[in-house]
Amino acid sequence: MGHQHTDPFRLSHPDLEKLNWGLDRRDFLKKTAMGFGAIALNGLLASHQAQGQSLEQQIMSALPRIAPKAKRVVYLFMSGGPSQFETWDYKPELTKRMGQDLPDSIRKGQRLTGMSANQAILPVAASAYGFRQYGQSQTWVSDLLPYTAQVVDELCVIKSMFTEQINHDPAITFFQTGHQLPGRPSIGSWLSYGLGSENQNLPAFIVMVSKDASKDQPLYARLWGNGFLPSEHQGVQFRSSKDPVLFLSNPEGYDGKDRQEMLEYLKQLNQLQNESWGDPEVDARIAQYEMAFKMQTSVPEVMDVSDEPQEVFDLYGPNSRDKGSFAANCLLARKLLEKDVRFVQLYHQGWDHHDSLPKNIVNQCKQTDQATAALIMDLKRRGMLEDTLVIWGGEFGRTVYSQGKLSPTGYGRDHHPKCFSMWMAGAGVKAGTTFGQTDDFSYNIVKDPVHVHDFQATLLHLMGIDHEQLVYKYQGRRFRLTDVHGKLVKGILA
């Protein structure tokens, strides 16, 4: 008699997998019955796309749902690392210490980047801009953000973010995918994979990059890539050019009349292929063709802002008529969210202020401040803020000391991973609050640190997903957005 089990699933008991950072099919099924997932599963089974969904995905969609507070997310990614000193983390003490060397008791021997490690002194630089308290919450906001200041009662400002990465590429990759090395799926892809698309005519994950930002640090498509997830979950980039989505419109000279028929045949061929190979990417391919076909009508419609009244453009600010600007993208984001797109990610580059920070950051804030605040108010008056999560933040913070010479008119700030600020607003977060605290130099966190993985876990939670359960097995290892880390930041949940 060999090795027999009472229960044939004994060896793959769900929590064993969990201990191994994973979860198996059996568990999903179980949770399905206990939780709510059956719904999503049903959806996938019944929708016309059923054939396009891989088995894993169908079951994946049966994830247990923590009653989701947020139905959609718009993530305003401030690429480059906005300084917390000139935005959200008010440090009045610094004025007194202006120009003094950063005390060792604060730096605690922290390794610096090659850009400032060799400086003879690390002169403390106070913010060149003032702060004032706003709203009922009396939150301190920089004078550079006069518009966001007016909606501050909607925000939950987290001052105690920290990351493990000190350089742009690994840091932004870490934020977007939970890992510093490229190759893992982006947050939006995980959500698309876990929850599917609510609107069958638009992708679940859409990306827009501001054209009006200074491109100091590059962005790459892999930041919104699907990694090892089936490729229909990659973020689809919408551009401001004539073709918002590349290669979507019919080629010149083709009227597209028999497109659907053609796709139907193609699908049959693909299915034949799938039967003999069983490659999930074939499913992905079929799904993508279908989505692309639907997008031929849905995208031009959603990109068309001609119906929007002047009042709306006034709200989003002077740049909002300029296609591709951050302001215009915010307006489009609202339109996409109205169409139930699950995850809209905007990128605005240009926050990497190693020198002349006071001068450069003004423009950065000008480009983004009003439209950001407008987006919040616009969602609010439409009744959408209650189930839409808005996120603002970069990949790390900046140093309290000046990189390079500190002069009365100028200073720069180097990368600082140990603390920085970001905010969330809308669905499920405590409006009008501040979370976490840094020391007088905004160099170390003194209260309620929030790691990038914690942030990601919380984001998933708000969307109704337990971050420990959103797992994909790839090359023999089980992967999660939060890797083997991440804890829910309960303090910011409403």
């Binding site: 008991h13 064993l16 019944a46």
Partner: protein, 453 residues
């Protein structure tokens, strides 16, 4: 020493089974083929009988070693003894050997089966078959029929704690049948006893085994789910194992905060905790799979409604036309639906909504609803959030809105409501938060925008 002999039982049992079965087969071969092999048969029977007796003795010792519950293996024991006797008879009575050999075969089969159940748990023989089948179905590359989906779901067990003392009612029986033999007054393997609350709370030689609320941290649970060949797997390899349901019960109990259920305070604490950790006792009967599928087939997006348990939110974005067929498909969900989203639709007939008596939230923004429709909506007793922005609602509708008793939030931005009307509404219903959407930024104070030098 005696224990050691007992431990040989699982090894020894294979001999009588093998040898005696062979002997029986040869008896029948000899009868059918008319060949003469009686001398070999006799040798086999002798050896087999000795082996059977040894197996029985070692089995008896094992049953006394305390690793098994008294009485657990009684049937196995008597069948084992019977098998040995049968073998002896067969050895001595060649005349009836054909008949006796059949009896012996049956006895061997029954004894073996009973023994197997002792080690691997009851019903292991059939259980594997049953639970396997849906998974086989699953491994088809896609599941595309409702049939399969339903089958798949029925294969899923739901574990819910019953009664108000889950420890005594559900957990203790499991520990008793699977753990007491090594962790109780009889034996304290790993310096651990599991037979009373005090001992469970005390833990074993490695310290605490129970962290209320955190199953994965609790050895009481985590050891159960280690791979069976892990040294720390409990119950140890080869012992009667817990099935997944039993494991789940222990897990849920720990998640609930591991209430032992004596003091009231404790049970209250446990309920409060369980409210967070587990699905709430459903105030709403969950929708059936068939009902969900039916609605999904029409293209309706369904998701759980926030802060409810069992409540649903329906979104009609993917629906081309709101024809009767669509509403028909949701008829079995009427109790569960708490939110309906019909944004921007121009084909709404509010009568269709009145069947959803539990509706709490209605999104009718930018739709064709009119003042007259609001009166109908007044028939929804729980409607607390109503989005009417961008609709033709005017002052004529105020009366109906004021009459909506449960209303808490109202969006009316860009409706046809006049200023006076709005004012009237506000005075009549100060408890409703009305989102007018009139929002304008005050221009920034440019003086402050200059850097402080």
């Amino acid at each position: 020493m005696i224990d050691l002999l007992g431990h040989f039982h699982p090894f020894l049992v294979h001999f009588p089974i093998g040898i005696l079965v062979l002997a029986c087969v040869m008896i029948w071969l000899q009868a059918i083929r008319k060949t003469e092999t009686q001398s070999s048969i006799s040798i086999l029977l002798l050896l087999g009988t000795i082996a059977a007796i040894l197996a029985a003795i070692s089995g008896f010792l094992l049953s006394n070693s305390g690793e098994y519950e008294k009485g657990d293996g009684l049937a196995h024991q008597w069948w084992g003894i019977g098998t040995s006797i049968c073998a002896i008879i067969l050895y001595f009575f060649q005349a009836y050997q054909k008949i006796i050999s059949l009896v012996l075969l049956i006895a061997i089969a029954i004894t073996g089966h009973l023994g197997g159940e002792l080690t691997y748990g009851s019903n292991y023989l059939f259980a594997s078959k049953k639970t396997n089948s849906p998974v086989k179905k699953l491994s088809l590359s896609t599941i595309d029929t409702i049939q399969q989906k339903v089958e798949l779901d029925t294969a899923i067990e739901v574990v819910r704690m019953k009664g108000n003392n889950p420890f005594e009612q559900e957990v203790l029986p499991i520990l008793k049948s699977h753990c007491f033999q090594c962790h109780s007054s009889k034996k304290q393997k790993g310096k651990l006893r599991l037979d009373t609350k005090t001992f469970i709370k005390k833990g074993g030689k490695e310290g605490l085994i129970l962290h209320a609320g955190n199953p994965l941290k609790s050895h009481l649970y985590s050891y159960l789910i280690l791979p069976e060949d892990d040294d720390l797997h409990m119950p140890p390899e080869g012992k009667k194992q817990l099935n997944s349901r039993q494991i789940d019960i222990i897990k849920r109990w720990i998640e609930m905060g591991a209430p032992f259920g004596e003091s009231e305070a404790e049970s209250l604490h446990a309920t409060v905790k369980s409210l967070h950790a587990m699905p709430l006792p459903l105030p709403i009967k969950p929708a059936s799979d068939e009902a969900l599928l039916e609605a999904k087939k029409q293209g309706i997006s369904i998701s759980p409604y926030p802060s409810s348990n069992g409540g649903l939110s329906l979104n009609f974005v993917n629906i081309k036309r709101l024809d009767p067929k669509v509403w028909q498909a949701t008829s079995a969900l009427q109790k569960q639906v708490l939110q309906i989203k019909l944004s921007k639709r121009q084909d709404i007939q509010v009568e269709d909504l009145l069947n959803f008596k539990n509706l709490q939230q209605l999104n009718l923004e930018q739709s064709n609803v009119q003042d007259a429709d609001l009166e109908h909506l007044g028939q929804l007793p729980h409607l607390s959030q109503l989005n009417l922005y961008g609709t033709g609602i005017s002052d004529q509708g105020i009366k109906a809105i004021v009459a909506m008793k449960a209303l808490k939030v109202l969006y009316i931005w860009q409706s046809k409501l006049s200023q006076e009307g709005l004012q009237r509404l506000k005075t009549a219903r100060p408890d409703v938060s009305i989102v007018e959407g009139k929002f304008q930024f005050s221009p920034p104070d440019t003086n402050r925008l200059k850097a402080i030098k």
